[in-house]
Symmetry: C2
Subunit: 690 residues, 2 copies
């Protein structure tokens, strides 16, 4: 583990500060440490040097100065007005780490006090976890410095912004016999947060999967980078709260920080190669699956002794994008050599209620060695089925196959199958309560693998589209004057984006020259710093077919907007695209600039057909964005229609990413519509908000 944070997880000695009367936090901590088998030095510090109830042998002092043992870690549960002085004395005595349990800081609005605490810790050279946290655990060191239920030893790490969620996950995991390497309730994160902890856990040999419960981020970009780096080394699973309005209200009062937009958060998870779980149980399912299974997985065999649960599992697997194909003729042939007549050899492979240990063993071996990448092995017991025998058949089949492909088991239910489940767990085969849940884990594994592959390809490839030579556009944007359409068009063209042929006219006499540039039919749009939403006020005229008509319309427009700072009009050639879409830049509170693409118009809003990525984007990211849109089917050439220039759209999205990086002064850009033609992409209209 990394040196500065080492003291938290492998301390030579621990001092617990605060009242050690029964029921008080310091007493709970001592209880947990002793019952958890902590072998290092332990003492308590409180004003009357009281020893903890029931633990008379624990040394007690009235000041850290009087403590004779080597202490690396302080557990601080004193009233908030005394916390800073405890941290200061820790600094003086060389205690490198402190977990602050005391509450009453930013979570109740008292950010000022939290700032003072952070500052004191910095000055004293003490790293702190908390305040307002539920503690930490390092099961390998039998270190249970937490008020939550003690985790079983294992290989999942858990970082949680809510001690209670963490505690509940641990308690559910204990029921499943599933263990953790590390637990950190990071509380208000005045100092140590996920950004510090992720590298530590990513490099921890005892940790094979990292789970995080997140309500908010202090620094979204750094958080994202830390997740990205960790996810390259081991699976990262994230449970995020605060999606709903009411949820956000609570998330924000709960942590003293605003929750970010949920779509952007999902994009972040995707871009970092992590996986998001949608509820508490799925979160634990994923941790459990990812901690022991390898990643390859797409063709799944369902082996069952009962049709119904096999079908429900298959339904869910396919719903989640996995494939449940029939076995090959060859594979069916092999299965027929040992399975009785009544078995169904399509997939699900149904051994029927008469399925035996041998049947499971041979079937598992056969499907793992032949057509399939993963197996869900289901046993639905009756009181008269020997579940231990079936468990052993599954274990033997996996071994006999000689593969490392993921196999998960579903044993239903209750006391009829508990002995069988114990066998499977002892053999390292994850067991889930229902086939639907097992399907969720395999689908997430598959998603994770795909993302890892994509990230591998993406790393070298974050695009760096050359900015075109015309540098004047930057200057234009920084002058602070209102941006007019000709300026915005000029700026985007300088970045290499194309518009339909166009011409800015500020006077009637220029119309003829304009027509030479654009041809007919053309579109005329009013130019005025006062008129940003041109079409809403009748400032756009489509389908102009003659110079005469143009002259009339121009004069009409000039008259209409004479009192609105009329500067002239932009003329554009009218184009007939394969499809109009929308693209742009936005800024997220947590993650900064994002690129958005959508179906355009009514579709984007009513159908929620849009996708978002945090900049910078690689071409692969941009292509993924496009693929996520349902209207991508149209761009691919729908029902024999012409396809659109998807590469051109990818170029535009990457350029938007570049612009967002180079122009922090830009708040939003809307390219709406973006005309996707067969061989090019043209910007139909641009709006830039600084």
């Amino acid at each position: 583990m990394n040196a500065p944070l080492h003291a938290f997880f492998i301390p030579r000695g621990i001092a617990a500060f605060g009242s050690v009367k029964e029921g008080k936090i310091a007493h709970q901590l001592v209880t947990q440490l002793i019952e958890g088998g902590y072998q290092g030095n332990l003492c308590v510090v409180n004003p009357k040097a009281e020893t903890p109830a029931h633990f008379p042998k624990i040394p007690a002092c009235d000041s850290l100065d009087k403590v004779s043992i080597a202490v690396d870690l302080a557990l601080v549960a004193v009233p908030s007005q005394f916390v800073v002085s405890v941290i200061e004395v820790c600094g003086r005595k060389g205690v490198a780490a402190a977990v602050v349990f005391t509450s009453g800081y930013s979570e109740t609005g008292n950010s000022e006090e939290e700032g003072r605490l952070a500052e004191a810790a910095r000055r004293a050279g003490v790293r702190i976890i908390g305040p307002n946290c539920a503690g930490i655990m390092n099961t390998a060191a039998s270190l249970y410095a937490s008020i939550e239920k003690r985790a079983l030893p294992g290989h999942a790490a858990l970082i949680t912004q809510s001690g209670a969620v963490g505690g509940a996950v641990i308690a559910l995991a204990v029921e499943r016999d599933f263990g953790f390497s590390t637990f950190v309730s990071c509380g208000n994160r005045a100092d140590v947060d996920e950004i510090d902890l992720l590298p530590l856990l990513a490099h921890d040999a005892n940790t094979s999967v990292i789970g995080m419960y997140v309500e908010s981020m202090k620094n979204g970009r750094k958080f994202m980078d830390a997740v990205y780096e960790a996810a390259r080394m081991k699976p990262v699973v994230i449970l995020k709260a605060g999606k709903s309005t009411a949820g956000k209200r609570a998330a924000s009062s709960h942590t003293g920080a605003l929750a970010g937009s949920d779509d952007v958060f999902s994009a972040m998870v995707r871009q970092t190669g992590a996986v998001r779980a949608l509820d508490t149980e799925e979160f634990l399912d994923f941790l459990q699956g990812f901690s022991s299974l390898s990643l390859r997985c797409s063709r799944v065999a369902v082996v069952t002794n009962s049709g119904g649960p096999g079908i429900l599992t298959t339904d869910r697997l396919e719903e989640l994008g996995l494939s449940v194909p029939e076995p090959s003729t060859d594979c069916i042939h092999r299965l027929k050599t040992f399975l009785p007549e009544q078995c169904s050899l399509t997939n699900p492979i149904d051994l029927t209620v008469e399925g035996t240990r041998e049947g499971y063993r041979k079937t598992l071996k056969t499907v793992l060695q032949n057509d399939f990448d993963a197996v869900v092995a289901i046993n639905v017991a009756t009181p008269f089925v020997d579940s231990v025998a079936i468990a052993e058949g599954i274990i033997e089949g996996v071994k006999a196959s000689g593969t490392e492909k993921p196999v998960v088991a579903v044993f239903m239910a209750g006391d009829m199958v508990s002995a069988g489940i114990d066998c499977l767990r002892a053999a390292g085969i994850p067991v889930f309560a229902t086939g639907e849940r097992a399907a969720g884990v395999l689908a997430a594994l598959h998603k994770l693998e795909k993302r890892q592959q994509e990230l591998g390809r993406r790393d070298d490839e974050i695009c760096s589209l050359k900015k075109s030579q015309n540098g004047s556009s930057d200057a234009d944007l920084s002058k602070g004057k209102p941006l007019l359409e000709p300026d915005m068009v000029h700026f985007m063209e300088a970045w290499g984006l194309s518009f339909p042929s166009h011409y800015f006219v500020s006077d009637q006499v220029q119309l003829e020259q304009g027509v030479i540039e654009t041809g007919f039919p053309l579109v005329m749009k009013v130019v005025s710093p006062e008129l940003l939403h041109k079409s809403d006020v009748g400032g756009v005229v489509l389908g102009i077919e003659s110079l005469e008509q143009l002259e009339t319309e121009y004069q009409a427009m000039k008259d209409k907007f004479s009192d609105r700072d009329f500067r002239g009009a932009m003329l554009y050639a009218q184009v007939s695209p394969v499809m109009e879409i929308i693209a742009g830049i936005n800024r997220d509170r947590d993650f900064g600039p994002v690129v958005v693409a959508g179906a355009g118009g009514v579709l984007t809003e009513l159908m929620h057909d849009s996708s978002v990525r945090i900049v910078p984007l690689g071409r692969k990211d941009a292509l993924d964005m496009l693929s996520e849109l349902r209207i991508d089917a149209v761009l691919r050439g729908y029902r024999g229609g012409k396809p659109g220039d998807r590469n051109g759209v990818v170029d535009v999205l990457c350029t938007l990413s570049e612009i967002a990086l180079h122009h922090p002064e830009i708040g939003e850009i809307d390219l709406n519509p973006l005309f996707v033609c067969e061989n090019r992409v043209l910007v139909g209209d641009v709006r830039i908000i600084l």
Copy 2:
């Protein structure tokens, strides 16, 4: 219970047919009956008159003729070649009911033998459940004639097409201390099926909620009627398998029947007032919630001692359409009189880790008496929290409130809270493992209530739009000649639907008269029995602006299709609707005629923006269909746009329902597009397939 089926569930005596050697089904059944405490007469029948292993006191005979006790129910587990003769002797001896466990019938493709069995039963006057089933239970009579785990006594009834799914649900329920009134594994349903059982359970005073696991239906319409009738009396929850391709493959080989389309099945559930569960655990959650909770529910208070789980619960509640509003000022004022400072009084109401029995009691009482319709009470324990005290606080708060509003509890997790959970269950408060699951149950309750209200309004109102006077259209459709566009237009007009002004021309000289009817611009479409997909072959010309142009285009069309049985052209006035949608009739394998509405064109297919209902439709149903479409926002007047004639669309959908009922010879009707204008709805094109 209803007389003919009475014998299954309250038999005076039972005879078990088949080998009673240990491990054999008849032996398992005897074991279950004895261990379950069955008090009626019991005997076994097998060729050697063997008594069952371990149960030497059970009378055994080699023939039913020698049985002296009164037998109403036969449990048949003999090899399939002997089943018919057992049924025949049952008939002779006045045994009214038989549960046939024996397999090897339609589930393995042997439908012929199943037919023989059904016929024998009919002749013998014996009702049978099965074959290939896992038996039945009536817990109130201590009747456990099933190989599945014995259910605890309770008030949920379970009908299942898979014994294993049923057994698994029971085993999961035992873990939750949740019980059943009745269990029926109905197997291949050669005789008794859901249509027989639903009325029985709907009238059973001991049953408060009915759950069904369904793979396929023998008669979709009768099934639907039975669900509808039952759902009027008590909540009905349905778990359906066979959604996926592979799942369907299995469902069909599993039950010897084809699985129906999933969207239509969902429409059926909705139209009957039942609720569909999406997985095994949700199915049990719903049964559990619905068996004890009343229906009113929309504003939910979340009372918790921990922020994180409160937020996750709130997220899910809002995601599922419930409201989690902040308490009123008055309610907050009341809460402040007893809750300490650190509590968050927005919703979730967070009592913090220091939340006490008294805090829960007073808070529950206050929110139930004031602003809210339902409460999720969450306790996330640490090893140092007294969960029993919190459970008691919740129970007391509910009592003190004097309301019957639904309150569900979430106690997390494991052994820390098991004593608290026992208290809550004893008090009749349902407990769920996570807040997300509790949210799912409340949302389903709310959905159920809304559907019940809708059904109440709908009953009198199934619309009976008068067919217009022109009866000749019927004749047109039955003549068997290919339908031409003019015929189809005529037919639809006879049903009262409107088209844009139109005129059929079969000769150049009629064009001028056509123009008088339609005006300009007009649309011309080729008429030919060989050209059904007119626009695909260039048989539609839009935007004709003059008689001269029309004459040219007509001649061109005539030339183009001279060898395709050219009959002339339909001329239509061109219209500018608020929106184009699509509507029509289709036939579902299980449920017969359905009415479909959708966004039209690319939208329907890419965005899956469509809705479906099984005929007959009431106006309320049709309005619901419209509301389900995302593009309904456009019809309601999107962003200041003009609204469309939604009532007109409802008329069209109801008329389609009438047509489907009156014309069984019609397979499909497509109205595509349907022009929705401001004050009327016009059919843009019609296609009828017989």
